[in-house]
């Protein structure tokens, strides 16, 4: 089966491309990126601010059950062309990943299907690779923690 979400990450390059085809009309796909209330739902983070317009900015924040901030990010919107394109920066607070430039291109395939092409450019190859490995590393941590849990119960 062909994968719906594809990642293109060439070795030694400070960029990556994420593509995905959606079972959604183009307008709906774009709306999912433009409306704060909807972004919150699928990104699983609070949207403190999202000005979907040229020279607008945005702020995202996720807190855990105790109210501690576990993720905070912000950026500015450089270009906003409805149903076509969003160019913006993205920066995670308190993380060593620098600022990334993101170019989102929205494309209509049929009346009911659409495609997203997400081009992300990082400050360096090292930063990109580090970010790519992040979920991998986290997955390992989760596995380790689970192992620790199990082992500690055996004691």
């Amino acid at each position: 089966m062909e994968q719906k979400t594809k990642i293109g990450a060439e070795d030694g390059k400070q960029e990556l491309v994420i593509t995905r085809e959606f079972d959604l009309p183009l307008e709906l796909l774009f709306k999912a990126y433009a409306e704060p209330g909807i972004v919150e739902q699928w990104m699983g983070t609070k949207v403190l601010k999202l000005e979907s317009k040229k020279h607008g900015s945005y702020q995202l924040e996720t807190t855990d059950a105790k109210g501690n901030v576990v993720f905070k990010a912000n950026g500015v919107i450089h270009e906003f062309v409805p149903n076509r394109k969003i160019t913006r920066t993205f920066e995670m607070d308190n993380a060593p990943f620098g600022v990334q430039l993101e170019v989102y291109e929205f494309e209509q395939l049929t009346d009911d299907t659409s495609k997203l092409n997400m081009h992300v450019i990082y400050e360096s190859v090292a930063q990109r690779d580090q970010l790519l490995k992040l979920p991998f590393a986290q997955g390992l941590n989760v596995a380790h923690n689970r192992l620790e849990d199990i082992v500690s119960k055996l004691k």
Binding site: Q3, T5, D23, L24, I38, F136, Q138
Partner: protein
């Protein structure tokens, strides 16, 4: 402390990737591998050394010759490292699709 070589650094080099492709189909001696490249023999040896240190290649003695063959397990690890990242986005996009389908039926 940079004694342990980084696998991802190892496969970032085009010659080393070509070596891995070559050895993937059959075990080869250093000489046979080197004959596929214009690069000087010591350079190829260095590449083989790095790939062996990263455990992407394994050496096996066969009579007087040492054959290099691919460590499939380690290669799988490398191929898989981007998968959690892809999966993370795939899950996120699936959620987006579900939410927007509901949104669509509401309007």
């Amino acid at each position: 402390m940079n004694l342990r070589r980084d696998v991802f650094q190892a496969i970032a080099d085009p010659t080393r990737r070509a070596i891995l492709l070559l050895v993937a189909s059959q075990s080869l001696t250093a000489g046979a591998i080197a004959s596929n490249f214009d690069t000087a023999r010591p350079t190829v040896s260095k590449h083989l050394q790095i790939l062996t240190e990263c455990e992407l290649l394994e050496q096996k003695q066969n009579g007087r010759e040492i054959y290099y063959h691919i460590n499939a397990k380690k290669m799988k690890e490398v191929a898989d490292f981007i998968e959690p990242f892809r999966k993370m986005w795939d899950d996120r996009f699936n959620t987006l699709e579900t939410i927007m389908k509901k949104y669509q039926s509401k309007t």
